[in-house]
Amino acid sequence: MNPRIIVCPYNRSLFDRISNQILVVQLNDIEQIGSVAQDVSHSCNDLRCAVINWPSSLADIQFKKEWMTVPLAIYATEMGPFRFIASQLNILQQMNLRVYLPLNNPINYTELRILSSLGIASTAVFVSKEPEWEALTDLMTYAVMNYYPHAPIDPFHYVATKFKPDGYTGFSAVYFSDPTKFLHINHAGNVSLSSDDLQCGKFILNDICELDDFEIENCPDYQEALNEWRTFFIDNRKCSICQGWRVCLGRFSQFADTSLGCENFSTEFLEILEQDKMIGQKRISLWQL
């Protein structure tokens, strides 16, 4: 099989059942940051990053210097009071950290930008609530236009770097839910293509130990997941005729029937990317030294 990144819970015995894999480890407790890298390393696996769902603001975390070398994804509710973030900036700016903030809280549109402008990579997390499209467009513009260097804001930065003018560019990988890149396993070692599948018991393998001999390309569920986008066209859904489809792949389809905001946003995103690509192509290739 092609190497996949495995998203798994923090479980040492689970780590020992797999080897030579790249792991994204979901932590239960923030204090586990201190030991996760060593535990993964001892099991002969590589740590891509540790993910923690923090039920409060980023400012409520007391960051430690020993976390600086651990690749981290922190899902927080918001940034929190800027003064408290500022007091920890000397550590935060040196950390291998990506902060995930949900867009159900309007303040997070601004806070993602604040963090990015201070050199902290951040990611907007889309939730069931309809985004504020104008604020989202502003955030996307800031993320992509790069008027002055700042840390990446995903998923916009991700799409901008992967964008191909003649193809589709999805961004589910930013949230570890792209089946072409990630497999998800639970404590029992069951393997699924997504965390949703894992939760509802839809496994492609019952035991992680079977992974080495598994040809995922021959798995019907995998093929189905890869071609899921086609249903938009088969069902003739509104997203299938949207210009911005190529950069959203129906991510906001639940809002498409009731709002023009999603179409306007995706179309503008696409226009900026294409314009940027065109400018890039027009650049003179310099003579070589």
Binding site: F82, R83, T110, S117
Partner: protein, 335 residues
Amino acid sequence: MPNVLFTQSCVRSCPYCFASEQMKESDPNDLLSWENLIYVSDFLKSSGERSISVLGGEPTLHPDFLEFIIYLLERDFVVRVFTSGIMANTKLDKITSALMNIPDEQLTFIVNLNNPSQTPSSLAETESVKRFLSMFGTKVMCGFNIYRVDFELDFLFQYINCFGLKKSIRLGIAHPIPGAKNIYININDIDHVIARLMNYVPFFERFRIRPSIDCGFPLCRFTDTQLGWFTRHTGSGAKFGCSPVFDIGPDLRIWSCFPLSSYYKRSLFEFDTIGDIYRFFKEKHRMIRSEVGGIYPECDECSLREDEVCSGGCVAHLLSIFKDEAPVRMPVVCQ
């Protein structure tokens, strides 16, 4: 150094206020947003600017004042805050605890002070200012706007010594707002102002306090002896320019300076760099000065003005002349 307005409202109503016209036109609830602050920071940084002046109205009235200042410091700006120093004790405590340990080179407060006996204010206001000065001591430089010929500076010497402030006084001269009615120093009174200022030379020397004169003073009104004194006591001498510094409003509209706030107002989004803005407003100043060289008739022929050693006084005076005369100028000049 560009000025950024956090707010458009003030806690005082100084008779000479040259921001009044701008504030009258604006919504007092118009506050600088985080998004605009980030845009301004990026804009200045991309132009290579490392310093920023924070203005209002009264900038400390902004609900995120402290966060904004910390943000600017984190973005590695040298920050100057122009304030009245009037604020509630709770706010002062909060600001003090957060900013007290920032090095003086990185953060300065310029507190615009009015003489309590000549520009009366309430006792509470005066006490509030004193609390601010006592808290921030060495971070504070006094600013004083001269708007009457019988001005008195004694209280400033007292404040500097009493509260351990920076040993420097920023002296501005009140300028007219074209088309508005503020109190300012008449052109004919500038000689008196300078004479009175020089009367304070023994005090400046005795207390080792350096005067720093702001824009709009005409060079020719100082004698060579007076200029020599300024050179000796300020190190670099006095500056007699009137070049656009430019102010950035909370909505990112920009103008050359407060007295010229209604003259060729633009948006920051129209420009790519600070250099573009300077060139734009410099050209507008040049247009005015091509009509009238300076505030005195002899400015037209003055070689020092032509060589840009002196600007020929504040350009707001010239625009005021245009406003009061028959419409004989090109419309593009007296817009």
